[in-house]
Each structure stands twice: as C-alpha cells, then as structure tokens.
C-alpha cells in the first residue's frame, strides 16, 4: 500500500527514473511475487517424459518457507471436482482436515469430500472431528492406526506397548495391533496399515471386528460372527481414556508457525 501511493507520485520525476535505471542496470531484475526459491523449477519435459520423480523437491517445504498462503482451499477443491468430472478419478477426498477447514471447504463445495484421511490411533482419537464427519456423511479414514511403530522416535510413546491394549489383547487372544485395528473399525473408521512383512500383513488383515453399524447395516447382517473381535462398551471406554491428543506427525516441527493454520 505504501508503494502504491509513493510510486505514481514520482513517475513524473526524472530522478526516480534514473534511480530505477540504475537499479535495473546493476543486475536487480524485477523480482517476482513469491519466487519459489527452494523448489527447483520442475520442467514439464521431466513430468511428461520420465516416470517417477527425479528428486524429492515436491516434498520440500523448506521449513515452511515454500508454503504459499495465497492458494485457497476452494481453488484446489474446484480442481479436484474438475478431475472427477473428467472421469480421471472416481471419488475425491481430503487429508488431514480439521473441522474448521472442512467447514470452510463445504461452504463453497459442489461435491463434498468423500473421505477425510487423518491420523487416528488410541493416543489421538479426535472425537469431535469424527462426530462432525459422521453427521455429514464424510467417511473418516485412519492412517497410522498402530502409532507408526516402524518410524517413531525412541522417546515417543508406543501404542502397541500400551498396557491397556496389551491387556485387552491377552484377554481376546489376539495381538495389540489387531485390537487397535478392531477398535478403529468399531468406531466406524477404516484404516491404512503399512507393512512389508508377511506376518504383519496377515495379522492386520485378519482382524475381524464389529464395524460401526450406521453405514454398514447390510454388511453387519450378513457377516458371521465367529472369530470376531468385539470390544465391549467398557473396553471401548477404557481405550477412549487413552486419548492424549498426541500426534506422531507434527507439522509445526517442519513448518514452524505456518502450521498453525492447519491444526489448532
């Protein structure tokens, strides 16, 4: 605003233009708005000719400096609706949306997100987000339902070694991981589990649980209940008491105060 007042006033002065000429001639080319410094320019040839990515620049936020606040969520979402209209994707959803952002998104969306994929495990249960999404028919998907046992730091809390989960696992004769997955399914969320070990893959998949009844009526009537992990109300409450709001993925560690707009 300051420049908008000052500069037109001095368009008439020769001194101003001499200064400008000097400034341009000394190599100060006119700077652009939001020059993406740490992102190397991704050439379109690379995008179209190569499969995969040459480097990991698309994941480099440079401690939040590359985050552009001027991109609105509505702009992105209209692009998502566009690719859905084209038939390139069947369904569109979001990740890591807190209630506030979802509400903002829904205020202008033509198509609501089908899925909200967030971090959910017994240490971070997000009951308010779950209630909001359930009321609007947005399916909630849990990532890191086991608390990222492979990637967490040593000092971070462990979900699978939690006393309550271990006790419940012994009571049901299954593994703590299966209890965590069964708890997630019983809350009405679906899960994403990652493992490259056949044993873990198999354990995780073998989890049978009572899924939350509201979206799954037909399924619940048809399934046989043998070998199914059913957590009673007391056991669900016991796990609900574990909620600490602990995130294993903390954007504020990577982006500083830029992350404040995302969570809380």
């Amino acid at each position: 605003m300051y420049f908008l007042r000052i500069i037109p006033k001095h368009f008439h002065s020769a001194h101003f233009w001499r200064c400008q000429l000097w400034w341009w001639c000394t190599g100060h080319v006119p700077p652009t708005v939001h020059w993406p410094v740490a992102f190397y320019p991704i050439s379109m040839e690379d995008l179209t000719q190569h499969r995969g990515w040459i480097n990991d620049d698309i994941d480099n936020s440079d401690n939040g400096r590359n985050i552009d606040d001027s991109v609105s969520i509505h702009e992105t979402w209209s692009g998502m609706e566009h690719v859905r209209r084209l038939g390139l994707v069947r369904q569109i959803g979001v990740c890591n949306m807190p209630v506030a952002l979802l509400h903002e998104l829904a205020s202008r969306a033509t198509v609501l997100p089908a899925v909200n994929q967030v971090e959910l495990h017994p240490l971070l249960q997000q009951p308010n987000l779950l209630a909001y999404c359930r009321a609007r028919g947005i399916h909630v998907q849990a990532y890191s339902p086991l608390g990222t046992p492979g990637y967490k730091e040593a000092h971070e809390p462990s979900v699978l070694d939690n006393d309550v989960l271990v006790r419940l696992a012994q009571r049901h004769g299954v593994s703590p991981a299966q209890i965590a997955i069964a708890w997630a399914l019983q809350r009405g969320t679906s899960v994403v589990v990652k493992s490259v070990q056949a044993l873990h893959l198999r354990d995780n998949l073998l989890t049978k649980a009572t899924v939350d009844s509201s979206p799954f009526d037909a399924d619940n009537n048809n399934q046989d209940r043998s070998g199914m992990i059913h957590l009673s109300d007391e056991e669900m409450k016991e796990i609900a008491a574990l909620d600490r709001g602990y995130r294993f993925f903390r954007p504020q560690d990577w982006w500083g105060d830029k992350a404040l707009a995302v969570f809380d």
């Binding site: 100060h28 994707v89 990740c95 198509v111 990577w254 995302v262």
Partner: protein, 297 residues
C-alpha cells in the same frame, strides 16, 4: 506583469492540485515521447511470455496420452464388471474383501446445492505404501504379498516416490504375460511364530491360498492416490502424472491435500522457469524494499 507560468502550473493552480515533484517541461516532453513506446514494448514482452507458456502447457499436456475419453470408457466398463468382481472376490479371503458402502449425504452445513460425492465399495483395511523403498523389487514383492493375502485397497502418493514401481508391479499383475502366475502366494508363517496371534486360523473362513486361476481385474482393486503439495493449482496435471506413473486409466479415490500440507505449497512450474517475462511495472511494485531512491548521482 507577464504570467510566466506554464500551462501545467496554471492548471494546477486552477484545480488546486498539489505540486508534482520534478514535473518540468523537459521531463514531460521526454515522457510523452518515450513512455508509450516503452510501455507497449513491455506489454508485448510480457504477453509474449504468457502466450508462450500457455502454448507450452497445452502441447505438453497433450503429450501425456491419457485422455478423459479412455477413463470414461473404463468407467462404463466398471459397472458391467461388477458381478464378475463379486464372483472373483468370493474366491479370495473373505475378511479382507469386506467393504463399506458409503454414500455421502447432502451438505447440511452450507446452503449450496451440494451433490452426493460417491457411491462405491471401499475395502475397510487398506495397504499403505509409505516409506517402501522402490529399489530391489521391494515394492513389487510386498505388493504381491499384500494382494495374495487379500488386500485390495492400495494407498499410494506421489511423495512416497514409489508410484512408478507400484505401477510396474500392478501392470504385471493386471496384464500378465504368458508365463507368469497371476499372484504368488507367500509361504504361510510357521505356527510357533503365530501362536497367540493367529486366533482366526481354526475358523472356517480363514483365508487359504487364493485361487491362482483368478485373474486380478482392475475393478477388484481400489487404488488411492494423493495430490502432491506443489500442484494445488494444477490438479489435473498431477492426476495425469500419477496415472502415468501407476499405469492406470483411472483412480478410485483421489485425496485432495497431501497428508501434512493443508496449506498449499505452490511451486509455479512455468513461472519459475526462465522464459516467463514479468511485466516490470507490476513486478517492482511488490516485495521490494526501499530501492526507489537509493542511488544519488
């Protein structure tokens, strides 16, 4: 007394305008002769860069060879193969195929005409591919294992940097050559390792080895990918890139914000390259500290 004021000064006096700095005759004449030329040159320069970039985008997008028409054909084929999907999945472990049928309701929090987003079956337990190294066939082996065990939902993302390997493995499974088996069955783990864990093994519906004769169809799978952060303004380009990497015609679910980056990180792809010419008049207006009156000569 003769009024020596110039026309400009008289006008200024009459309309009570403030005095302009340095508004002499000479600079005014110089400005009149040059400003129009300079301005038009600058404008043409900027527009040239703009149209060049537009043409480049269009030509490169057309090189991707994935067109919506194929995806629409695939979508039409999807509905016709649903019964076949049910049939083939009944041969596979039952607990893994359990899906949730979810229909999004109308938006209740906004007054806009929000339509329902999806009708579909999504497997409840998905297989994540984060941090799986794409070297040494790790991805391919793990993907085969997961599919053999009965996972049908695959959670990919460009920022996991293994989508091309997953695409190759998937392509091999979906379009097998003459000799390869469809899905290799991993050896079942020895019982002493699984003593307390495999509680479901004695049940009737515990998954046995899947029928190797079942050919995996694209419609059996539920493939998820995500929008990488720099593409929040270029969604279609990101989708086409992902489809190319995964060697697919369509995705079942596309998640709009990458896991941690709700605030969009934007690299302006072509704006960062050197052949975009910014209009000088617009560019020096922003984000430049006090450089206007620094040089005194």
């Amino acid at each position: 007394m003769q009024d020596t004021a110039s026309h400009c000064q008289r006008m200024r006096r009459a309309y009570r305008q403030p005095k302009r700095i340095g508004g002499g005759e000479g600079i005014r004449r110089w400005r009149q002769t040059t400003s129009l030329a300079i301005g038009s040159i600058a404008l043409a320069w900027g527009m040239k860069g703009y149209w060049q970039s537009v043409a480049r985008w269009q030509s490169l997008l057309s090189q991707l060879h994935i067109f919506p028409s194929t995806a629409i054909v695939a979508a039409a084929a999807y509905s016709s193969t649903t019964s076949q999907q049910k049939q083939s999945s009944s041969l596979l472990p039952s607990s893994s195929i359990r899906t949730c049928r979810f229909t999004t309701k109308m938006s209740s929090c906004s007054g806009t005409n929000t339509t329902s987003s999806l009708v579909g079956d999504m497997p409840l337990i998905g297989w994540g591919t984060y941090m799986i190294d794409k070297a040494d066939n790790v991805v391919a082996t793990a993907l085969r294992q997961a599919l053999a065990l009965g996972y049908r939902r695959i959670d990919c993302a460009p920022v996991y940097f293994n989508e091309d390997a997953i695409g190759d493995a998937l392509h091999e499974l979906l379009h097998p050559t003459t000799t390869t088996a469809t899905v290799t069955v991993p050896p079942s783990p020895p019982s002493h390792e699984t003593g307390a864990v495999m509680a479901n093994d004695d049940n009737d519906d515990a998954p046995g080895p899947p029928n190797p004769l079942v050919q995996l169809q694209r419609s059996d799978l539920y493939i998820v990918s995500k929008l990488p952060s720099p593409f929040h303004r270029h969604v279609e380009m990101a989708v086409r890139k992902t489809l190319r990497d995964l060697r697919l015609d369509y995705l079942d679910l596309y998640l709009g914000a990458y896991r941690h980056m709700c605030a969009a990180v934007v690299t302006t792809l072509l704006c960062a390259s050197r052949d975009v010419h910014w209009l000088p008049g617009f560019c020096f207006l922003t984000h430049v500290p006090n450089v206007f009156f620094t040089h005194h000569s």
